[in-house]
């Protein structure tokens, strides 16, 4: 099938594990100086995470409290973004919705990336039938449209945050494992791997100390850009009614079902959640783009 990234594209700058913290700071310092949009994205991501953590403080009401005497109220001082068809405060639901997006996004991408590194590294390093099997499974995976798989999988599992994370993580791990694999293959051809081997390094040591640190640049970039996509996918699922079950506040879910019947008389119901989704995904895309330019110029534009 189609290779996602040719081997030659993934050339990472070697970075020693001991210098990781200064390296992270260095990259962000560079970003602040040279990438205004990327820095804006980073700022928005920090704000999003803070909103998710301090949701009870920031929100003005409980996100699930209904108030039938204040239905479909236009935005006002009391209800900053108006109220929905059963009188819930839209602003508070947006604030709590950040929690779902953050948890689903980081959860799915975090788990998915770790599994992708395991699958890709072991596959490339071991080769043989194990690699062969993984590659055929990834082929099959690429052929099934993602949304089709998500819908079917979400029908099987009990609806909820846990299942969404599991299903999205599976998707992330399979599609990213191929990029990891090609990165590992190109790193393994480098002389320093041969040197580490000839010095008597065991397979586990070579993988952990030499291979994995050297594929981290493309992996981090992929993960950051993946966050935006995962958040969009969760929104699409919730929109179709296969995602986070109500009454939990989720941005995609706020746009679905009955809310759509009221959008003629209460357009704020449709605008606030979609703005939240767009700004969040835009922030992750901008931050990811900037990271890619700084970490891995060869990957630029490849998406």
């Amino acid at each position: 099938m189609t290779t996602v990234a040719p081997e030659s594209q993934v050339v990472a700058a070697p970075l020693a594990a001991e210098r990781r913290l200064p390296w992270v700071l260095q990259i962000h310092w560079q970003m602040i100086r040279s990438k205004p949009l990327g820095s804006f994205g980073a700022l928005m991501i920090v704000l999003l995470i803070l909103t998710a953590i301090f949701a009870p403080v920031i929100a003005t009401e409980s996100p699930t409290r209904t108030n039938l005497r204040a239905m479909l109220e236009a935005p006002s001082g009391q209800h900053l973004m108006g109220t929905d068809m059963i009188g819930r405060d839209v602003y508070s639901r947006i604030v709590y919705g950040a929690r779902v997006s953050v948890v689903v996004g980081f959860g799915a991408v975090g788990i998915g990336t770790v599994v992708a590194i395991l699958l890709g590294t072991i596959g490339a390093y071991a080769g043989g039938w194990f690699d062969m099997v993984i590659q055929r499974v990834v082929d099959a995976w690429i052929a099934i449209p993602f949304l089709v798989f998500l819908l079917a999988a979400m029908t099987i599992l009990k609806p909820g945050v846990g299942s969404i994370i599991a299903v999205l993580a599976l998707g992330v791990s399979l599609s990213n494992s191929r990029v990891v694999r090609s990165a590992v293959l190109s790193v393994m051809a480098q002389p320093y791997i041969e040197a580490a081997r000839s010095l008597g390094g065991t397979d586990a040591r070579v993988i952990a100390r030499h291979v994995v640190p050297n594929i981290m640049a493309p992996v981090i970039v992929l993960a950051t850009l993946g966050l935006g996509n995962v958040i969009l996918a969760e929104a699409a699922l919730s929109f179709l009614g296969f995602g986070i079950p109500p009454p939990t506040a989720a941005w995609g879910g706020m746009l679905s079902g009955t809310a759509r019947d009221y959008m003629y008389i209460a357009p704020w119901l449709m605008i606030a959640p979609s703005l939240a989704i767009t700004v969040t995904v835009f922030a992750f895309n901008m931050y990811g783009d900037a990271l890619r330019d700084l970490l891995d110029p060869r990957l630029r534009g490849s998406r």
Binding site: M1, I142, A143, P145, I156, G228, Y264, P267, M270, I277
Partner: protein, 314 residues
């Protein structure tokens, strides 16, 4: 070339088998048996066991799978458990719509993405470049289902205009047929063009720095032939790869677009099938989607050979 194509077709067999097993097993794991739904919600029959036997759901899973594969290979996708209609006849009506929607979307993706990508590369770091790139990233971030809902709602709200229109088969009335799918196709095409445009720009930037471009320029060739005949042709391979990756996304997007725009296509058909637990239908539609993706991927791999004569599959 023939050997390569044959080899690639053979390599599709294990992929196809994995997909079919995954689809088959996944469908059976969906809780809420169709027999339960039929008996409890619709009183189709009194005796669950009898109904199960009649639908062939009492046999062991392996037998069901082999029977299913056997008929799929012969081109028979079975029949809907609800309506009893053969899926083949349903598909004959619904597949053309999804096919048309997909083709128009891809065409629009190309028409939008490639000229803009080339322009952004040629005018690197100028206002048009920044504008188009920001738009592309912005467009990657806007949920397309929201855009679709807005495009239906806002004209209706402001001008009392209904942008939805019924679909008719292309050969009956091509204009009305295209009109019905135009808006969803534009939304899908726009959202897909962002990544293709970014890839076109990145590759053009790389190619425009090559020596042979300087040679072409210095022998007095004009800008346009240099860009389109020499540079674009050499920049196309990764662009085509990215384009291939958009096919599953467009198929997935067609599910959303068809259900928002009330189009009787395969995607909406599948969404209904999932909600109604119509096993053969879900299996068939998912499998058909997967087959489409597998063949377009093959087509794209073969296209490489035409784009770059160095990759002729000996």
């Amino acid at each position: 070339m023939y050997h390569y194509t044959l080899g690639r077709l053979l390599a599709m067999v294990p992929t196809f088998l994995i997909i079919s097993v995954v689809i088959f097993m996944m469908i059976r794991m969906i809780p809420g048996d169709i027999v339960d739904i039929m008996v409890e919600n619709y009183k189709y029959a009194d005796d669950k066991e009898h109904l199960r036997r009649e639908l062939g759901l009492d046999r062991p899973l392996v037998v069901q799978y082999i029977a299913w594969m056997g008929s799929v290979v012969r081109g028979d996708f079975g029949e809907s458990l609800w309506t009893g209609k053969t899926i083949g006849s349903e598909m004959k009506v619904r597949l053309p719509l999804t096919f048309q929607l997909g083709m128009v979307s891809i065409l629009l993706t190309l028409i939008i993405a490639i000229p803009i990508g080339v322009l952004a590369a040629v005018k690197q770091d100028t206002l048009p470049d920044y504008t188009f790139r920001s738009f592309a990233v912005l467009h990657l971030s806007i949920p397309d289902f929201w855009l679709a809902v807005m495009i239906i709602v806002l004209p209706a709200l402001w001008w009392q205009v209904n942008v939805q229109s019924g679909w008719v088969p292309f050969f009956e009335n091509p204009l009305a047929s295209l009109k019905a799918i135009m808006i969803p196709a534009i939304i899908l095409g726009l959202s897909r063009s962002a990544s293709v445009m970014r890839m076109t720009r990145a590759m053009m930037l790389e190619v425009l720095r090559q020596d042979y471009i300087r040679t072409a320029r210095s022998k007095g060739l004009g800008s346009m032939p240099v860009i389109y005949r020499h540079a674009l042709k050499n920049a196309m391979i990764p662009v085509v790869t990215v384009l291939g990756l958009q096919i599953p996304a467009i198929l997935g997007g067609s599910i959303i677009m068809e259900s928002i725009f009330n189009l009787p296509g395969t995607g909406r058909f599948m969404l209904n099938a999932i909600q109604e637990r119509d096993y053969p239908l879900i299996q068939a539609t998912t499998l058909i989607f997967a087959i489409i993706v597998m063949f377009t991927n093959l087509l794209i791999d073969l296209l490489y050979g035409f784009l770059d004569p160095r990759i002729r599959y000996a």
